[in-house]
């Protein structure tokens, strides 16, 4: 029974709504305080990107499970400009994060897995997952 909820990202406060949803789900599944904070931060980064760079998009939060464990899958999808140089965007460095360590490499480190599908002019879909250990 996979619970799944979507938040549309249009205004900056939709970012907060997506965070809230993520934190509630994370707490409900059994993530500890630190992981709740990390998942929420990851959602915040992805939603912020949608808000800043794509005209609109949505964040979907889905409970996932396999035989051994449970977890959360977050899908951030938009019809924005798309990422032209994926390799460059995933590189660490001043240019991508302003020394903050944030950006997509940062999101990848907060979660267990990250998958990016993006084409110029066709939008971006990012799927991140984290499992309760």
């Amino acid at each position: 029974m996979n619970a799944k909820s979507t938040v549309e990202i249009v205004t900056e406060w939709d970012i907060v709504a997506a965070r809230q949803l993520g934190r509630n789900e994370a707490k409900a599944i059994g993530f500890g305080a630190v992981d709740q904070a990390r998942i929420t931060t990851a959602i915040s980064e992805l939603a912020r990107n949608i808000y800043l760079y794509a005209r609109s998009g949505e964040v979907t939060i889905e409970r996932i499970s396999n035989e051994e464990k449970v977890g959360l899958r977050i899908i951030a999808a938009d019809k924005g400009p798309g990422i032209s140089n994926l390799k460059k965007v995933m590189e660490d460095g001043y240019s991508t994060s302003g020394g903050l360590g944030a950006g997509l490499p940062g999101v990848k480190r907060l979660m267990d897995t990250m998958d990016i599908q993006s084409h110029v002019g066709n939008g971006t879909t990012i799927v991140i997952e984290k499992w309760v250990k």
Binding site: W13, R19, T40, S44, G93, Y94, G98, G99, L100
Partner: protein, 331 residues
């Protein structure tokens, strides 16, 4: 600092009063600013401690002291972060240095594709990093003989680029020598074996085309075999040659072979970066390339090169991990 203190205290007390997600979001945004202002984590704990003491004047003294402990241990995190800033600056400097180095390297390895009537030549070489570890060297002497050396240094980055300079240097010195692939490979092998680091090796495919006789003579040193398409028989042939990588042992001989080219024949010379993808169903990479070449055979040699690159780059499996070089000779 006083300004930051006041702001933080407001954000923190809002959070403690309401405990909404919005407060946490505002808090994280505030911290991002602090980090960019290079405020250290131990300073943040201190600001937090002071704010808590203001918000709860009856705070037990022990709890106050516990923040002192936290401050002390955060100093080490702060040290690591300061080192981080310093490394970022170093990284920027190095990035700019490599940009200039790449420009120079590109100039040193610049090569012009010969434009001839009797044979259509195309070339495309795309490096995986800034500096290209593949190198194509054309030689066109008085339009009677056109030669090409397709070289791949084993390794990437700066060392490979320097090694390549040595190869170009060797090829330049051999400019007026006889064009036999056997001889060229033998001499280059000795130069590289002697001059370069024991761990650097070079693969090379060397071909020389005698325009009057339409004869293509080739030899190879541990290089990805070239592909020859015979139009009349509508068949592909692999142009292999037994020969050790250049630079391994001092005395090595390299066999050479001849092909007679007829109209509509073509030869594809590549480096191993081109075949570096998984089987597509039943076809292994070289078959994919052969089919691909046939399908755009109506185009010029240069356009064929570009088509192949675009097609292969967009294959779902193809994660370009090596320098990509393709040279086509088309009669």
């Amino acid at each position: 600092m006083k300004e930051l203190q006041t702001q933080y205290q407001k954000i923190l007390s809002d959070f403690l009063a309401n405990q909404t997600e919005r407060n946490l979001y505002i808090g994280q945004n505030f911290i991002r600013q602090l980090i960019q202002k290079k405020v250290a984590p131990e300073e943040v704990i201190n600001i937090h401690k002071y704010a808590i003491e203001q918000i709860y004047p009856d705070l037990p003294e022990d709890i106050s002291h516990s923040y002192d402990f936290l401050i002390e241990i955060m100093v080490h995190f702060g040290l690591t972060l300061k080192e981080h800033q310093s490394l970022l600056e170093q990284q920027e400097e190095l990035r700019m240095e490599m940009n200039v180095a790449t420009k120079i390297q590109n100039m040193i390895l610049r090569t012009t594709v010969p434009m001839l009537n009797q044979i259509d030549i195309g070339m495309l070489s795309v490096p995986i990093r800034k500096m290209n570890g593949d190198y194509v060297h054309f030689l066109n002497n008085n339009n009677s003989v056109v030669s090409v050396a397709v070289t791949d240094v084993v390794g990437k980055g700066v060392p490979a680029a320097l090694c390549m300079s040595m190869v170009k240097y060797g090829l330049d010195t051999l400019e007026y020598a006889t064009k036999d692939p056997s001889y060229i490979l033998e001499v280059l092998n000795r130069i590289i074996e002697k001059s370069v680091d024991d761990s650097m090796f070079v693969s090379m495919f060397y071909g020389t085309y005698n325009i009057k006789e339409s004869k293509f003579t080739y030899g190879s040193a541990g290089h990805e075999p070239a592909i020859y398409y015979n139009a009349r028989k509508n068949t592909f042939f692999d142009l292999e040659s037994k020969g050790l990588l250049l630079g391994v042992m001092p005395e090595v001989t390299y066999p050479q072979y001849d092909i007679h080219l007829e109209d509509n024949d073509f030869i594809i010379m590549i480096t191993d970066g081109v075949t570096d993808f998984r089987k597509q169903g039943e076809l292994d990479p070289r078959d994919v390339i052969k089919n691909l070449a046939l399908s755009c055979n109506h185009l010029s040699a240069q356009k064929m090169c570009e088509e192949m690159y675009t097609y292969l780059k967009n294959l779902p499996d193809f994660e370009l991990e090596d320098d990509f070089t393709v040279v086509i000779f088309k009669k």
